[in-house]
Symmetry: C2
Subunit: 227 residues, 2 copies
């Protein structure tokens, strides 16, 4: 093995390359590129041509679409639910932008190579179909969930998402501005701030700037279900 090739040790190898032969992996590995992104960097620009199969090795990103007057955030994603797969076989341009919410590392494999692997390796293709189903379903289900809740319920869902799914702690630094929360849940920035203030006044959370501490998780969970 080439000493430059570290894919063997990649935590995500099993995600996409489980079924790939030594020879194929070697090939992918030597032609891949890894990019580092600082918090706030644009990783993928909506409308740009898709050249690579891109996946997230580490970090946290937001997926969003820019419209006339504002942005709509589709999904927050970490390494194990990364998302560029959705468009890659059906569009030649990226339909969404991706921005780093925390320092992130992406891995880029030439798309032609991935397509060849799909054409030649059925197990690999099947794995991609599975992953794609999971990703699209998570976006759709989350969107439906948010849509059936009011302002406070939606904000509660976001806080619990970061506490339970991303940081696995009840005190964490929000990697988002209030505006970005608003862009995700489809409400105004002011009302997101009001909801957070309301939670603070009701002793459900404490707020120190971007740091949130969840004090009464039960109540927050009730809000996320019935609010």
């Amino acid at each position: 093995m080439d000493p430059n090739c570290t894919c063997e040790k990649c935590e995500l190898k099993s995600l996409f390359f489980q079924s790939v032969s030594e020879e194929e992996l070697f090939n992918v590995c030597n032609n891949k590129k890894e990019n580092e992104h600082k918090k706030g960097d644009l990783i993928i620009a909506e409308g740009s041509v898709i050249k690579d199969f891109i996946y997230l090795k580490s970090g946290l990103v937001k997926l969003y679409k820019t419209t006339r007057d504002h942005e709509q955030i589709l999904k927050f994603a970490g390494p194990f639910d990364f998302v560029s797969i959705l468009n890659i076989f059906s569009h030649n341009k990226h339909q969404y932008s991706v921005m780093a919410l925390e320092d992130s590392v992406t891995c880029h494999v030439d798309f032609a190579e991935v397509r060849n692997m799909v054409l030649e390796n059925g197990v690999f293709a099947h794995g991609l179909l599975q992953k794609m189903g999971q990703v699209s379903d998570s976006i759709i289900q989350e969107s439906l969930q948010i849509r059936r809740h009011n302002l406070k319920g939606r904000v509660a869902i976001v806080l619990l998402y970061f506490a339970n799914r991303v940081y696995e702690k009840d005190e964490f630094e929000l990697p988002l501005s209030r505006k970005e929360i608003a862009e995700y849940i489809g409400k105004t920035t002011e009302n997101v701030i009001r909801a957070l203030s309301d939670f603070r006044k009701s002793n459900i959370i404490k707020i120190f700037g971007k740091v949130i501490e969840i004090i009464d998780k039960e109540r927050l969970e009730r809000l996320s279900k019935f609010g």
Copy 2:
């Protein structure tokens, strides 16, 4: 060829079986089942086990999810944008229900057979990846589009969808109740009715029960963009 096998003539053959060999097609064709559904029939029940790869040959359906107290409609779909693909590789149970909005015919192929074709036929697998990307993207984009409009804008979007995409006529019979429009756009039934009445009073549409005639399409289009 078996005289019972009419897949050769199926209008949708190219959609899913473009790349499939004579032998494979023959096999699929003889093991397929076709089902007819009357308007209002449940075709797929959310939560039921996925056994078949199901696609729509003709008709019109709604895809929806049942929650605590009401239903949320995800998508209306005809033969060329059918949707059961989304879950089939990633879940063992259907995540959404499908109901016929008009008399419909579905074609059922055993899932194991489809999986085998994915594993053995890269071109077929690639075609499914493309189709799946299109379907998931259409759901996501439509959902975002609706979310950034107000009540009237949303209703206008629905009317134009049926006029332009489904019936290709400016006078058509809505295959939906007002309640179902509400479940799709995420507003109350009363307000959907009010929006329609409002369009009628403004001479944008005429209403004869379920039959809608669009009189001022330009104004409706403006509403669907800026409302």
